[in-house]
């Protein structure tokens, strides 16, 4: 999107660019630009740098430590970050539980939890999905039974990203009778990961990464003071949070940077009859993806402009999630096609380093398959594309859903 910036906005863009040039550690930048896995320390190091600058929570209201930037400023920020190769923000604290706490938490909870989220001293994970409650999240069966001033929590959460890094988990749990299916029996609990009775088991994905986990709760005692808002209202809070999450899943700026890289690479690749970028089939796919991405950028911009700082966008954010995911996955596919023969090798990090150093294998394509594989989860997480369409049908188009079809 080429927009005319005001003098102030230009100054802001220059400030952001200078900040990134000065503060983004070179080793992190290299990892990001090469599509390598980042470890916990990498993410925390970067988020702490942003925290020192006061730019950790760009979506939060000013009073809680946010920036209250305009939609244009957020756009500039995202774009500059992607161009510079800055790590993505881990969303669970800053984009997900943070807004729930400042919107629905007590004063005491805000003071207790928000500083650790801002400073990234606390690492949060999300306990929503369960083995038998995926798309149908409201059917979750992890229970929290009152016992004096505590709840006793039992159940299993799954697909929990970075649970092995986390010291806190925010969970949806069932506080009503065991057989109620309706969402009014669900509460929102904050649980320390070092609680007695919690075990974390890794789930390895097809890209070989350990990001996801199962989290087992075996008679875990959680103070009622860790419940957000009213008992039985957790579903309402979670829906607001999901809107925040979705709106943050477009990855427009990252996709733009990747498209630039893709075109540059395709310029350098020879095919039988010329350069890859001049292959009509490939070039048409690149153009179509670019058109879709430019439109997505504007759809996102319209949503951001219509949303007050600190609040969640409406159900239209489902459009952003669906299209953002589609575009990102199309770019993954284009990179696979671009790699040609070299889309095949799948080399572990240590051997890859050696082979690249010895010039045995080209460096640019070393993580192509890995990135494509890893990103297949994008259309499943944060509410699958199918669930997003259900939300659009129900909450935007006003279709009444069949009794069995849930909203999320």
């Amino acid at each position: 999107m080429k927009i005319n910036l005001t003098v102030e906005e230009k100054a802001f863009a220059a400030e952001v660019e200078a900040f990134l040039a000065e503060n983004l550690p070179a080793d992190l930048q290299q990892k990001v630009l090469h599509g390598e896995q980042l470890d916990k320390e990498d993410y925390v190091r970067w988020q702490k740098i942003l925290y020192e600058q006061g730019w950790a929570a760009i979506d939060w209201p000013y009073e809680y430590g946010g920036t209250e930037w305009s939609a244009i400023q957020k756009h500039i920020w995202a774009e500059q970050n992607a161009l510079a190769g800055a790590p993505e923000i881990i969303p669970f604290g800053l984009n997900m539980v943070g807004p729930v706490i400042y919107t629905y938490g007590t004063e005491e909870q805000k003071q207790r939890f928000l500083p650790g989220i801002l400073s990234s001293d606390d690492w949060w994970c999300q306990g929503y999905s369960e083995p038998e409650a995926g798309s149908d999240l409201a059917s979750l069966t992890t229970t929290a039974v009152a016992d004096g001033d505590d709840y006793i929590v039992n159940g299993v959460k799954t697909w929990t990203t970075f649970a092995h890094h986390a010291n806190w988990i925010f969970c949806l749990v069932r506080t009503g009778a065991a057989d109620t299916r309706n969402s009014e029996a669900i509460s929102f609990l904050l649980i320390p990961m070092d609680s007695k009775g919690i075990t974390v088991t890794p789930i390895i994905t097809m890209d070989g990464a350990h990001e996801m986990n199962e989290v087992h709760f075996d008679n875990v005692r959680v103070p009622m003071a860790n419940r957000i808002g009213e008992e039985g209202q957790g579903w309402t809070y979670a829906k607001v949070l999901l809107n925040h999450e979705r709106a943050n899943l477009t990855h427009v700026s990252l996709s733009k940077t990747r498209m630039m890289e893709l075109k540059k690479d395709a310029e350098a690749i020879r095919t039988g009859h010329g350069k890859l970028i001049d292959d009509p089939h490939f070039a048409a796919k690149v153009a179509k993806t670019e058109i879709e991405l430019a439109a997505l950028e504007f759809t996102e911009f319209r949503t951001l402009t219509a949303t007050r700082n600190g609040t969640a966008p409406g159900p239209e954010s489902s459009i952003l999630k669906i299209v953002g995911t589609d575009v990102a996955q199309s770019i993954d596919e284009l990179f696979v096609e671009l790699a040609g023969l070299y889309a095949q090798p799948f080399i572990d990090a240590e051997q890859a380093e050696q082979y690249v150093a010895d010039k045995v294998i080209p460096e640019d394509t070393i993580n192509t398959a890995r990135v494509y594989f890893n990103n297949r989860k994008a259309s499943l997480f944060g509410g699958s594309s199918e669930i997003q369409k259900n939300i659009i049908c129900k909450d935007v188009l006003g279709f009444k859903q069949n009794s069995q079809e849930g909203g999320e």
Binding site: H273, E337, Q344, V360, I361, L380
Partner: protein, 380 residues
């Protein structure tokens, strides 16, 4: 036109299916992949004892089959079983190179080694700067008084890490991408200057970069008519491409079956996922993709068998159609399985990985679409 399997072909199919049922599960496959050889010697021995390797070749070459339909039936089952043993790389690709390029004397010497499974072969035909272009051969074989001095590199050589013998295309004349001047050489890893860098592909199959650094070889290592190997290389790669398409069909059939099963049994919102019409239509589309891909492959098979193997256009058409279907079916199988589809624990992601890798082997979809267009133009 015959595309229905014979009694013998049906028997072969049953024998492979039985073996796969008994011997091939995901746990064993992971162990095999993790081993340094990258395939199981005992599986390989079984496969040769059961006669699978001979099916790819005609009786005049010492085999028991040799039609495109024979290879299709074999490879569909290989695809179903997600087999990592090098039937494609060693038996079909390298074996066909020998039948298509070499003299009767060379065939008589080398084919028995391949058909018995006693030795495995690998073929290095692609290069880092050539993408999928078989005529791009920058590897030079310079004539010396008593033989050749070969230098260059070969990309993503399937089974290249542990093969007993390496077949390599190298240029004995002409410019980097001229069709004339390409010859075929038989090398092995023990030769001085042959550097083999092993790795695993995304589907777990073993592959390697082969770097040839002033490899001095005697004249007998050139196993083609000097400078005349390209047409035979293209014919052999077409045979292997069609076999690979059949393997993809087998893998797609499994994904469709398993996805349907999952949607019929997995309950969400109190009902099976499969009760949602939007998901039923997705599975109908997956079936349509599979059937169309299968027909494109069978059409190429029939054309090849009726025209002495000459079916380049139809084979490119099949590879393109299979590529489109494979991507769609693999992605949809994961999407309809939900997050469990992306895990290493479930076989769905392993089929996904194999199908993704197949897309990039012997030319990706765009390459074959372009080749189809080119060949159509030449026909007119």
């Amino acid at each position: 036109m015959n595309f229905l399997p014979s009694e013998a072909q049906l028997a072969l199919k049953a024998s492979i299916a039985e073996f796969i049922d008994k011997e091939c599960d995901l746990g064993k496959r992971k162990e095999i992949i993790a081993s340094s050889e990258g395939f199981s010697a005992s599986n390989w021995q079984h496969m040769s004892e059961l006669g699978w390797l001979k099916v790819a070749f005609s009786s005049s070459d010492g085999g028991t089959g040799g039609t495109a339909l024979d290879r299709m039936i074999l490879m569909e089952e290989i695809g179903r079983g997600l087999i990592v043993e090098p039937i494609l790389a060693s038996t079909i690709l390298s074996g066909s190179l020998i039948t298509e390029v070499c003299s009767e004397a060379t065939k008589a010497k080398l084919l028995p080694q391949i058909l018995s499974g006693e030795q495995t072969f690998a073929s290095g035909l692609y290069e880092p700067d050539g993408r999928f272009d078989l005529s791009w051969v920058a590897t030079k074989a310079e004539p010396r008084r008593v033989g050749f001095n070969i230098s260059g590199r070969k990309s993503v050589v399937l089974n290249g890490g542990d093969a007993d013998q390496l077949l390599i295309s190298a240029r004995t004349g002409g410019g980097d991408n001229s069709p004339g001047g390409i010859s075929l050489f038989l090398l092995d890893q023990s030769m001085e200057g042959v550097h083999v860098h092993k790795y695993k592909n995304a589907d777990g199959h073993a592959a390697a970069e082969v770097i040839l650094d002033s490899v001095f070889v005697d004249r007998r290592t050139n196993i083609s008519e000097l400078g005349e190997a390209l047409p035979g290389i293209e014919a052999a790669v077409d045979i292997a491409t069609l076999a690979l398409c059949a393997e993809a069909l087998g893998a797609m059939a499994v994904l469709n079956d398993k996805t349907l099963q999952h949607c019929k049994t997995r309950k969400q919102f109190g009902v099976p996922l499969g009760s949602f019409q939007s998901l039923q239509h997705r599975m109908a589309d997956m079936l349509i993709e599979y059937e169309q891909a299968k027909s494109a492959v069978l059409y190429a098979v029939v054309m090849a068998d009726e025209n002495h193997g000459m079916a380049a256009k139809e084979i490119s058409g099949a590879k393109y159609r299979v590529g489109v279907a494979a991507r769609k079916i693999a992605q949809e199988a994961i999407q309809l399985h939900g997050a469990s589809g992306v895990t290493d624990d479930l076989d769905i992601s392993h089929y996904f990985r194999r199908l993704t890798t197949i897309e990039s082997q012997f030319g990706n979809s765009d390459f074959h679409l372009n080749r189809y267009m080119q060949l159509s133009k030449e026909e007119d």
